[in-house]
Amino acid sequence: MVAPRALDIYESFDRFASGKKVREDTWDYVTVPTNALAMKEKYNIDFDNKIIPEDDDLADRLFLAGIEMLACTGFYNTNLGRALSISEEEILEGIKKAPNKIKMGRGNERVACKTRKGNSKRKPIIQGGPTGAPVSEEIFPHMMQSYAQEAAVDTLVSGVLNTVSGRPATTNTPWEIRATLAEIRYVREACSMVGRPGMGI
């Protein structure tokens, strides 16, 4: 049966809240590995030591295995200790609403991230940065500038400030907020220093 509509974050929350109670260790040690192995066997998934699949049918079977894995297993919410259920039809309806193109940045630095197909001759968007690695406060803008100045880089991803005003940016404290805002300022400053103030960050 077709799905009445795609889920949104509100309906997902409601489904988690009314979902089946499951122990986290049962989910981790039994539910996920048992179902993943069953999908591997059902869809005959074998990578044959290839890094990138050369067999289109294998890629298609893996897609079907992933859909059935999600539909038969659901999704676990560790905070609530409950698992949500979603049907295959709802999964397919849900991915229809996702964009096939997004734009990042502004002005001359605006880039479009669009669907590629296979190994298209159009390279992916290059997002440069420490990707969440810890960075000293003293060198943070300099390090970000080293990414922003690279011609190959289209957008930036930030690192994590190790301290802010000399204080540790501890999670769930006001210093975490100050550090986050400082990171954004430093990244913007790095973009401006290399004449790319509109880079997506």
Binding site: V32, A36, L37, I67, F75, R116, P124, I126, I139, Y147
Partner: protein, 216 residues
Amino acid sequence: MNMIAGWATANDIIMMEQMPIFGGYSGGVEETAICDVATMLASFALFDCDIHLDGPIHIRWGTTTTRETLQIAAHAAAALDRNTDLLLANQYYTLAGPCTEMCLLEVAAQAITDTASGRELISGSASSKGVVKDRTTGMEARMMGEAAAAAAGMEIQEINRILDNLVSSYRGYYSKPPAGKRFQDCYDIKEIRPTDEYLDIYDKALKALINYGVYV
């Protein structure tokens, strides 16, 4: 989920990050890839995501550049690329540190893999597994971009042959990877210019890639 509700209602672009662990609860490479596909689908179907940021990671080495984690990332991306128009990204965690040839070759191997398997955005690199302070630089991102540009459009069979050799060139160093240098030790901080030493190492990595058949 509260924060997603705010972003979704404001129509912000939402990038959802998820890093499947190879060697953990899921099982082998195939089972981990099945879970990766399922979780990517969930990101879009349950959490209003616009672009998904993957990052299959090796439980023993803590990196995304091993043969197994590249296999998982490539198969999962290809499965979704062939059957949907979803926007897929991947992130980079190398074992070696900046200012080493191994670090640059790890980045290149993943950039080639991600490009050839149809991903739309690549994000990195967190060198030294992203856990050592000040051990990432813009030169690794330059390599990411150059390797991706060189790999775009190549035949998959040729890419697989190159990757077999490229990954084999560094996998013997997993137990003792070169730590490399801090950003402040491989860049002139005032000029934000990589040192001659790093430029020489970068040149060597480019030559190695050309020898493997990647014309950067």
